[in-house]
Every structure is written in C-alpha cells, then in structure tokens.
Symmetry: C2
Subunit: 347 residues, 2 copies
C-alpha cells in the first residue's frame, strides 16, 4: 500500500547524513522508518545479514544490475521503479518467473530524505505489481560530491521452468525476429528531459516489467522461443549484434517493420541520434522458430505491453555476426554495434 506521508522529515534530519551509513542508530532509523514500512515482509523483517528462502529443486536464474540514471524522476517512472523493472526484465529474458529481489543503496550525503522515500515507495509499488518481495538489502552513504544523489543495485532471483532453453546461441537461420513494441521511448524521454525539449504529445519512458508478457509467450511456444533480449543500453542495434556474434548467424532487419513513435523519430532526427541505438526499458526482442512466429505475435499483441508488437526481421546464415537493415528506400546497410557513448546514465 502506498504510504502517503514520508515519516522522517518530521524528525531531526531532512537530508541524508554520513551517519545514516555508519551502521549505528541512524542506520537503524532509516531501516525502521523508510525501508521496513515500504518493503516489510516476513523474510526482510528478520533483519539478519542475509535472507533465507526455501526452494524446490530446479533451475534458478540470477541477475544483477546497478542503476545510476539521471535525472532520478522522469515521465513514466523513476530510478526506483526502473531498478525493479530492469532486474525483473533480465530475469524474464532468461525465461524465469521472478521470485525475489535484493536492494542495495549508495546514497550521497545531502540527499533529501523525501526523495529517498519517494523512490523507495516507487520500488515497493513496482515490486508489489510484479508480485515479488525485496528480501534483503544494504545502505551506504558517501560524502557530498563523491556520488550523485542515489545509486541502486538490485539483484533478482527467478525460477526457470523445466523445458525452457533461452540463450543467445540458440538463434538459428530461418528464425524470425520480433519486438514487443515501439523503440527508443526511454532514451528519448530521458534525453529530452535533460535538454529541456518538449513535444506535442507527452513522451514517456517505456519502463515496465515484462515477466508476464514473457510467461504468456512461453506458454504458447515453449522451447520454440530461442532467444529473449531486452534492448536497453546500446538499443536494438547492440542487442542484435551481440546475439549475431554469439550465435554466429546473420540478422536481417526491415526498417519499415520496426515500430517507432512519430515524435520519437522526429526527436532522433533533430538530435542526430539513430533510434536503433537508443535504450528501451520495457521492450523485448524475441527470436523464434518461424512456425510459432504468428502465435507469439498474436499473444504479445493481446497484452497491454505488446500491443504494437511486430515481426521485424529474420535470422540467416549469410554474414555471420552481422546485422543488416533494408531501409525504407530499399537500400541495405550494416548496423554496427554501438561504438562510443550515445547517452550516458540512461539506466
């Protein structure tokens, strides 16, 4: 449940002090007044050095990510919800059903406690929507100027169903490449915010948890789903290049098939960015055997997070390790992996 009132600013401190990371009384206050009310569950409430989970025999997926996005709050989310969605999505890309998350915070001295509280509330809500608990955590504080407000690490555990075999190496010639929706919304939203750009329609980050969408397509196509990948940093281009390299296959894309919001395309042109390299936080690439492409596509389109899903290309034997694109005007070009940095601190 959303706690509408930050408990701490009424007390003696309104910003984070070094002592909040000292392991003493102020650390305890943070835990008791900010973290436990938001995340509280029977495992976390043990306040032990670690959490203990009872697990059945089987495959466990583990993923870790640190989030350093700037600014902390943006249309469509904040660093807290992003830290939940990002790790949930990495688990989903292994074909796993999420079980639990850990959360570790690096706070900069001077962070307003109300900001921490908003972020923690947002994490809590995002985790509740996914149905996972935050079972253990850690907080460190660094001096002013030695960090940037807040960095969050989340590590996730998930259960991989018995027959599922998702791996970049499984992409094979003949497979089709699908994407769950419009590309580049996250990166362009963050960049617009930093640059002070405004658009006619409000752009939002696509930050969202993909576990349910993935579970639905696994249910209809199982082992015929060969690869799942969320194209975050480096965008669709870098994700597909990695897959092409690892599987030693070529990937051919059709530009006109790739869904993109008109205003995002316009912003990319204005900013000189190629949308294929811009980060997404709520999209997944799905590489499947051709015989299940249609049912996977239809299943995705029935879900709110996949309603603009599309088949955007195919896997081939030619030009192994390379991604090529047939442009709108019919030319063919090689889409390289991102070189250099396009948008720092996008996640």
């Amino acid at each position: 449940m959303l706690n509408l009132q930050c408990p701490l600013p009424n007390s003696d401190y309104s910003t984070i002090l070094l002592a909040h990371g000292g392991g003493g009384r102020l650390t305890q206050t943070l835990i008791e007044q900010i973290f436990l009310p938001a995340f509280g569950n029977s495992t976390l409430n043990q306040l032990h050095d670690g959490a203990i989970l009872d697990l059945e025999k089987g495959r466990l997926a583990i993923s870790t990510d640190s989030f350093v996005i700037s600014p902390l709050f943006f249309p469509g989310g904040d660093i807290g919800s992003l830290a939940v969605h990002g790790t949930i999505n990495d688990l989903a890309m292994c074909g796993a059903k999420p079980i639990a998350l850990t959360a570790s915070f690096i706070l900069e001295e001077g962070l307003p406690i109300t900001d921490l509280w908003r972020i923690v509330q947002s994490m809590s809500q995002a985790a509740q929507k996914v149905g996972v608990s935050i079972i253990t955590g850690d907080t460190k504080v660094v001096e002013r100027g030695k960090g940037d407000k807040i960095f969050i690490n989340t590590t996730g555990l998930g259960r991989v169903p018995p027959t599922i075999q998702i791996a970049p190496k499984r992409a094979q010639p003949g497979d089709l490449v699908l994407i769950s929706g419009q590309i580049a919304n996250h990166g362009i939203t963050i960049l617009s915010l930093r640059e002070g750009l405004t658009f006619e329609t409000a752009l939002e980050s696509d930050s969202a948890p993909l576990h349910s969408l993935v579970a639905q397509i696994l249910a209809v196509a199982g082992e015929q789903i060969h690869v799942l990948r969320d194209p975050t940093r480096g965008g669709v281009a870098s994700a597909l290049n990695e897959i092409a390299q690892q599987a030693k296959v070529g990937i051919r894309l059709v530009e006109s098939a790739i869904p993109i919001h008109e205003e995002v395309r316009g912003a990319c042109e204005m900013l000189g960015l190629d949308p294929f390299y811009v980060a997404n936080e709520g999209k997944c690439l799905v590489i499947v055997a051709p015989e299940v492409a249609e049912i996977v596509l239809n299943t995705m389109r029935k879900d709110a997070l996949g309603k603009e899903a599309a088949i955007i290309g195919e896997v081939c034997a030619e030009m192994p390790g390379k991604v090529t694109l047939r442009s709108r005007i019919g030319g063919m070009r090689i889409v390289e992996m991102l070189s250099g940095e396009q948008l720092p601190r996008i996640c």
Copy 2:
C-alpha cells in the same frame, strides 16, 4: 591464476570513459579483456542477461552489499577482496556454505584501467580461495565527480544446511558470547592510512572470509550455535546491541576478555575512538549454548582466523535490549549503539 599483465593499457584507452558503460563496443571490450579473463567460468561465459544455476531442494541464503571503501587499496586487502569477503561473511553469518557471487561495478570516468584490473584480479583470487564463482555482473560508468573511482556491489548465494537455525532472536539467557579474534584492526588500519599515521609493527586490515571457520564450528556444535554476526560497521558494540534488542535479552561483556592488539588500543586512545565501535572485516561474534562454548572456542582456536578467539561475555535476562561492560577497573557501564558516524566509508 593471477594474470600479471593488465591487457588494456596497451590498447587505445588507459582510463575508463563514459562509453565503457554504454552497452556498445567498449563495454564489450571491458568484459572480454578484463572481466572474462579474471572471472571466466562456464556460467558467466554464456554472456546472458543473467546466470542460471541448477539447485537441489533446500534453504538458500542471499545477501547483498555495496562497497564504497576509501582508499581503494590498503594493507591487508583492497575494495575487490573486501567485496568478496564481506558478502561471503554475510552468508556465513546465516550459517550458509557459499555457492556463487554476482558483481556489479559503478566506475567513475577517469579511473585508470590498471586500477580496475588490479581490483578485478584481487576479487578473482579472493573468490577462488573461497571456491565460489562470480556468475553474472554489470558495469555502469558515471561522469567524473559523480562517483568516486569505483563502487562494487556483490550479492551472494549460499546453501544453509538442514538443521542449522541461526538468528539474532535465538540469543537466550545463559548463552555465552565468543569472538573469533582481535577487534578493530580493519577500521584502525583504514583510518591510519587516511591520517598518515604509522606504527612500529605494520597494522593490517583483518579482511578475510569466515565461511570455513563457521563450517567448522557448525560441524561440532550445530543447532547449539544460536547467533553468528560479523561486527563490521558500528563494530562489536552496535552488532551486540542489535542482537540484544532483537532477542530482548541483556548482554554482559568483560572488557579484559576482549582481544585487542596493543597498537590498535593505543591508536584508538590517540584518535579518541572506542574500539568497540570500530569496524572489523574478518571477525565473528558467536553466541552459543554454554555447554558447547568450550568446544566451539577450541575449534576456532585451531583455525588460523580464530587463533585468538575468546569468550567475552554472556547473555542474561536482566536489562533486556542493553549491552553492559565490566571495565578493567571493575566498573560497569552501558555500551550504547553507535550514534553518529565514526568512520565514513570503512567498507
């Protein structure tokens, strides 16, 4: 095996650039030239968004910690070995045998790649000594002045043996309190380094992995071991206060029984620090049923990491939630939890 030659400075870049965190070619170079050679194992080598482990049915311990210690290199270790030992110890304090670690890096633009490489080599060696693999990871880069060289998050997974029940709440009147060796070495080493103090004998951090020591005492005393706790930030005083509060018991310590290095005691006096509040990174507090105290003590003393182990106090019903200390001159005082910050960025 220790890689004696950093592979990257011979290439085009000698410091970390923002692009090393961009998810493109430079991120790939870091992974292929720094992380995989050091950590490489069959799980990590999949280069998937997450790792997958095959697990038997049973209890899994999970612990997460972010490390922000300054300076990065210190007598007795560095941020890399500390990040391994710290999380291994949190697992050990749950009674767990470590299985695997994740590693997530937040790098500041401008970090010399040779420093990253030294730290990664040190993590790799520390993990190999413990016998665990680093199975998945993440790297982010923040702009110069928005971080401090390197922060590392490690999250650990461990297996808790079936009959073991370690929890702060299990401390009960009559139990005895043991410590595995001299206190305050880590904190005083770091502080001395920062302040430029020197000592006659070389002080070193006690940073070390306690999983083997813990396995040995669990083997001889099993369920009779009620609580394990590594007194890191906030020191012995804060750790025991937390236990006393959670178990609603009193804890009585005898000052003369608590092992401390003469020079550490001297440094504490000179610096105006109370060693009970100074961080340790290779010590554990063990609270046991009185009938096994002797065998636990002897078992610890046979291990190199426990050779100065001692019984330092007892659990009582009086003054629940409080820790008291009988001083060398016979007086009794209450040892409060740390309030305020004693030593920032000690771990």
